[in-house]
């Protein structure tokens, strides 16, 4: 199964990169842009989990233990058959 994990800074946590991009956009003529947050996408393949439910549980644990830092980041993920 193919998995795509999205990790973004938690709401309420300052995102210095997002803030810098947001400040730059008006210079290019893009007015009215707000809420820019910069995160990362992590793609991975999970084999041998058995069911999608088991894969989901595995990926959730990966996200909590390594792929994100739950104190400063939020994560979501989607699973597609690969």
């Amino acid at each position: 199964m193919n998995v795509r994990v999205y990790v973004v800074p938690k709401q309420g946590i300052l995102d210095p990169q997002g803030a810098a991009v947001e400040r730059s956009l008006p210079n290019l003529g893009f007015e009215g842009v707000s809420g820019v947050r910069i995160g990362k996408i992590i793609d991975l393949t999970v084999d041998g989990a058995g069911s999608e439910e088991a894969a989901r549980a595995q990926v959730d644990e990966m996200c909590r233990k390594l792929l994100s830092n739950p104190i400063i980041e939020d994560y979501t993920f989607e699973i597609t058959e690969g």
């Binding site: 800074p9 309420g12 946590i13 300052l14 995102d15 210095p16 990169q17 803030a19 810098a20 390594l66 792929l67 830092n69 104190i71 400063i72």
Partner: protein, 242 residues
């Protein structure tokens, strides 16, 4: 134990750490202290009395600073050592590793200015009631360098209130007069926080580098000695006062 009784302090070495040598040297400028390198793949702490995790770029800062180092074999031993009350100090990347390992609260994110900062800062000691600051008085201002890209301390509001209530904010960035001021904070850290300790006060992390200020004739100041000196006093059994 007597004042110069032999003491062994571990300096943890991860791939990508680059101030292990400086930290080793800094510790050995104290009479009676031997520094021991502890390799990340080992689980044996070699019977050291205390541990310092130095700064650098462990595992290339991949994923998040300190995120990979946290899973190395030595970190499990250090977690047990800390749980038993052992003294652990993390400097810069060492602070990031202690946070990722869950031994200290909060998170360290990208500097607000998006630039690597390398300069002297003034630190105000906010509590002398830790084994790492007992040689200071509350309000003392120390001049030490920072050099980092992800030193912007942040924490959720509930934990922040708890840090204040439990006196866990150990050092803050201030100006030379010891006041919190615009421009004194090099990285945008919440509430100008430069270093925190855990609830039981035996684990301490800070972004600035005390190991680069231990010899006044070389570094133009020796304020870093106070952190190591306090730790060494505590390891020798001196009472932590205040």
């Amino acid at each position: 134990m007597t004042a110069a009784s032999p003491l062994r302090v571990g300096v943890v070495v991860f791939p990508g750490i680059n101030t292990d040598g400086d930290t080793h040297h800094a510790l050995e400028t104290f009479p009676g202290v031997t520094a021991e390198y502890l390799w990340h793949k080992d689980t044996d702490l070699k019977g050291v009395d205390g541990i310092v995790i130095p700064g650098g770029f462990s595992y290339g800062d991949y994923l998040r600073c300190g995120a990979i180092a946290r899973f190395s074999p030595i970190m499990q031993s250090i977690t047990d050592f800390a749980a038993d009350g052992g003294l652990v100090m993390g400097i810069c990347n060492g602070f990031q590793i202690l946070i990722e390992a869950g031994l200290l609260p909060g998170g360290l994110i990208r500097n607000t200015g998006l630039k690597f900062v390398c300069r002297y800062v003034n630190l105000r000691v906010e509590t002398a009631a830790t084994p790492f600051t007992s040689q200071c008085a509350e309000g003392d201002v120390l001049r030490i360098v920072v050099k980092h890209n992800e030193g912007n301390y942040t924490v959720d509001p509930a934990t922040f209130e708890k840090l204040k209530a439990d006196d866990q904010i150990v050092v803050r960035y201030v100006n030379a007069a010891g006041e919190r001021a615009e421009g004194a904070n090099p990285n945008g850290a919440l509430d100008d926080i430069a270093g925190v300790c855990n609830e039981t006060r035996n684990v301490f992390g800070m972004m600035p580098h005390p190991e680069n200020s231990v010899e006044a004739e070389l570094a133009g100041g020796a304020d870093g000695r106070r952190f190591f000196g306090s730790m060494i006093d505590a390891l020798r059994g001196a009472e932590v006062t205040a």
